[in-house]
């Protein structure tokens, strides 16, 4: 309820108070003219810590990864004009992966808006297509409620980044401060519980399945439903696959886990996806990198149940039979109840059919689609990731950049728990890895945070090595240095007649010296036998950032691979070449 004592505060004070009320620990940001009053207020308090990045893109990535790795909400703060445009890549990255995040931006004073003022840009216009919602605050009396709405919208329903654009004069104007406890909006009421009739239908289908498959995505992680997912999959004895965004929702080491599916998914996951008769899709959006050619996917008949909180994710690319619009944990709780009752009555999936299905799956598994040459004299990138998994005992938070290294990390590091695998799937943003590691490390102070990257990606937000130094972030950077934009090179090899147009990374820096230049230490590792010792040494250095530059096979490719436009079973395998 209303505070007894009413306080009159400036807009800048209100911003900081709102963040405090929301329990915000960190703000990732970069100052500038339009936000100076807000910075002034940050200076005067010590409840919120400001993390000064070296480029606004990194502020957004760090705030984003702070959310991804913790289920708290990351906040970033940038100035008007170039501050905003620099942050756009980070905002779009969060948007594509449905990550809750608050972006506070300075704006020129209200009277200057539209005058082509210094450092003016149409922030609301520029960011509109890559935020869940955005606001321009035109009256200081709306400021607190707008920030409350921003947190509410960002974290409920299908999450996403929400931006609040605050003109400079608003930060100096005063009004009574009142932070609403809760907010209701007639135009925004995300559903929670799924339709009971649909849930019943779904459970019935699952019980009748002979070749079932559970396919889950980022939604399970975003909604903290991995507990229920495990219980469901275990109760039913069904196989389970995760998308790139869903890794860790189901234990990567469990026998019922078939690995990731999709363009670089495992043979068994893609085959089971194509040949199942009942598919349960949970918080996954049938992305083109997952389903490949939808017409090919549709060639095999199967019943599809799809749970998603966003109706527009359902039947977008693939028609489904039983849509369930709802919040995953609520829906799964309901399904588990119905299942328990059915099992009590002796209704269960046909054990013989299930056994046959598992026999088939094990045959597919026996292909060992992730095998690679273990006898090579040159370091294989897959080997580094296997060793990383061993040395960290699967307990690290792994952030990644974009490219081959990202796919190998997804394939070879087995995530048993959610929020450990932090990567940009939807936008595929090179440069994400290092700032993401900063956000993840700050959200999980004691944890081992590893950034798996490539020599090309790391150069896109390299300046953040300086931020890591300032805040003593003991991140371990695993640079899989193949001297190429490997993923681009791979496509050029397969689909462009080996014409490696502009994918060779010439004039690479000496990464060890570079790390040292920033006050960190680095190691260059060139022989397979040095991989494990180097990893052990680096990981033992709990308080230091260590840059591990692994010189890896420049010719290695990611397998399996489904070429663009092909069906998911039309995989190129290592053995085919």
């Amino acid at each position: 309820m209303d505070r007894v004592k009413t306080e009159v505060l400036t807009g800048a004070e209100i911003v900081v108070r709102c963040l405090q009320e929301e329990g915000v620990e960190y703000v990732f940001g970069y100052p500038g003219g339009a936000v100076l009053w807000i910075y002034d207020e940050l200076f005067k308090q010590d409840r919120i810590r400001h993390v000064l990045v070296r480029h606004e893109q990194a502020a957004a990535h760090a705030a984003d990864a702070y959310s991804r790795s913790s289920n708290k909400v990351g906040v970033c703060l940038v100035t008007s004009g170039p501050g905003v445009t620099n942050a756009v890549t980070g905002i779009a990255t969060a948007y594509m992966d449905s990550i809750p995040m608050i972006v506070l931006t300075g704006q020129v004073p209200t009277h200057a808006i539209g005058q082509d003022a210094f450092q003016e840009c149409d922030t609301v216009g520029i960011t509109r297509p890559c935020v869940k919602h955005n606001f321009l605050v035109k009256d200081v009396r709306d400021l607190a409620a707008t920030i409350k709405k921003a947190f509410h919208i960002a974290t409920t329903g299908r999450p996403g980044p929400v931006l609040v654009d605050i003109p400079k004069d608003i930060t100096t104007q005063r009004c009574e401060f009142h932070y609403p406890e809760s907010i209701s909006m007639r135009s925004y009421n995300p559903v929670k519980r799924g339709h009971p009739g649909q849930i019943r239908k779904a459970v019935q289908l699952l019980l009748e399945a002979r070749r079932p498959m559970v396919y889950t995505g980022g939604g399970v992680i975003l909604s903290n439903a991995s507990g229920q997912l495990r219980e469901l999959v275990k109760t039913l004895g069904f196989p389970c696959t995760n998308t790139l965004m869903g890794l860790g929702a189901y234990p990567g080491t469990d026998r019922q886990f078939l690995g990731m599916l999709g363009m670089h998914g495992t043979y068994e996951a893609n085959m089971a996806m194509q040949h199942c008769d009942v598919l349960l899709a949970i918080g996954a959006r049938f992305d083109d990198r997952v389903i490949g050619n939808p017409a090919h996917f549709a060639q095999n008949p199967r019943k599809i149940i799809h749970i998603d909180i966003d109706p527009s994710s359902i039947s977008k690319r693939v028609k489904v039979d039983v849509p369930i619009v709802g919040n995953i944990p609520d829906v799964l709780d309901e399904m588990l109840k119905l299942l328990a009752a059915a099992l009590c009555e002796g209704r269960r999936p046909d054990p013989a059919a299930l056994a046959d299905w598992w026999r088939q799956i094990d045959e597919w598994r026996a292909k060992d689609c992730l095998k690679y040459d273990r006898s090579a004299a040159i370091i294989k990138p897959q080997f580094v990731l296997e060793k990383l998994y061993e040395v960290t005992q699967g307990e690290a938070i792994v952030t990644s950049d974009v490219g081959q290294h990202q796919m190998w990390a997804a394939q070879f590091y087995k995530f048993d728990r959610p929020r450990r695998w932090i990567n940009s799937g939807g936008l595929g943003t090179m440069g994400f890895g290092l700032p993401a590691a900063m956000g993840a490390q700050l959200a999980n102070p004691g944890a081992t945070v590893v950034c798996v990257t490539g020599e090309s990606s790391i150069q896109m937000c390299l300046q953040e090595l300086s931020t890591c130094k300032q805040y003593r972030l003991p991140i371990k950077i695993v640079n899989l240095n193949n001297k190429y934009m490997g993923m681009v090179r791979q496509w050029q090899q397969f689909f462009h007649g080996n014409r490696y147009s502009e994918s060779y990374m010439d004039a690479l820096p000496d990464f060890v010296k570079l790390a040292e230049g920033y006050g960190h230490s680095g190691m260059k590792i060139e022989r397979p036998q040095d991989v494990e010792p180097a990893l052990r040494e680096a990981l033992a250095r709990k308080n230091d950032l260590v840059f591990l530059d692994f010189i890896t096979d420049p010719a290695e490719n990611v397998y399996p691979m489904v070429p663009g436009g092909k069906g998911i079973t039309e995989m190129i395998l290592a053995e085919d070449l």
Partner: protein, 163 residues
């Protein structure tokens, strides 16, 4: 298939560009778009005429519903409805054409709302097809200027869209 989508939306700056932006970003087509506040000043009502397969129309309504400021969306063309569009058309009406123009306006139940020495301005309401028919019925050379509001629509009988 042509569809008429009716949208109740918070009457806030930016809501229109959010909706227009959605259509252009996702490649949906807009045949016409009209918008004005309702009797409740906090709400605007928008009518968008679009076309697309059933799948596309389903996505359009889902995507519109997802916009934070959108309160309600209906596809009017799913059931009985009435649609109207207003056209103002300025035509040449010198001594030779005057009689004929008046007659044409009457046939289409148009009203002449402004007159000069050599022109009439005619107001005409109806569905889009009727307005098109009127334009086709005129000699091509006589049209000096046209302006159309785009289609507005409402459900028949007890079919009501409100917040």
């Amino acid at each position: 298939m042509r569809h008429i989508i009716s949208i109740l939306v918070e009457n806030e700056a930016g809501a229109l560009s959010r909706i227009a932006g959605l259509f252009s970003a996702r490649g949906y087509n807009i045949e016409s778009l009209t918008v004005a506040p309702t009797e409740d000043a906090s709400l605007s009502r928008m009518t968008i005429v679009t076309s697309g397969s059933d799948d596309v129309i389903e996505q359009i309504t889902k995507q519109l519903n997802k916009l934070i400021e959108v309160v309600k969306v209906v596809d009017l063309s799913e059931a009985e409805h009435i649609e109207r569009e207003l056209m103002l058309i300025k035509v040449r009406a010198g001594p030779r054409e005057r009689e004929e123009m008046k007659r044409m306006a009457d046939i289409f139940r148009g009203r002449i709302i402004d007159v000069s020495d050599n022109s009439y301005t005619i107001e005409l309401t109806g569905d889009g097809a009727k307005l098109d028919a009127f334009i086709r019925a005129l000699e091509p050379g006589v049209i000096m200027e046209t302006v159309r509001t785009g289609t507005s629509g409402i459900g028949r009988g007890n079919r009501i869209l409100r917040a």
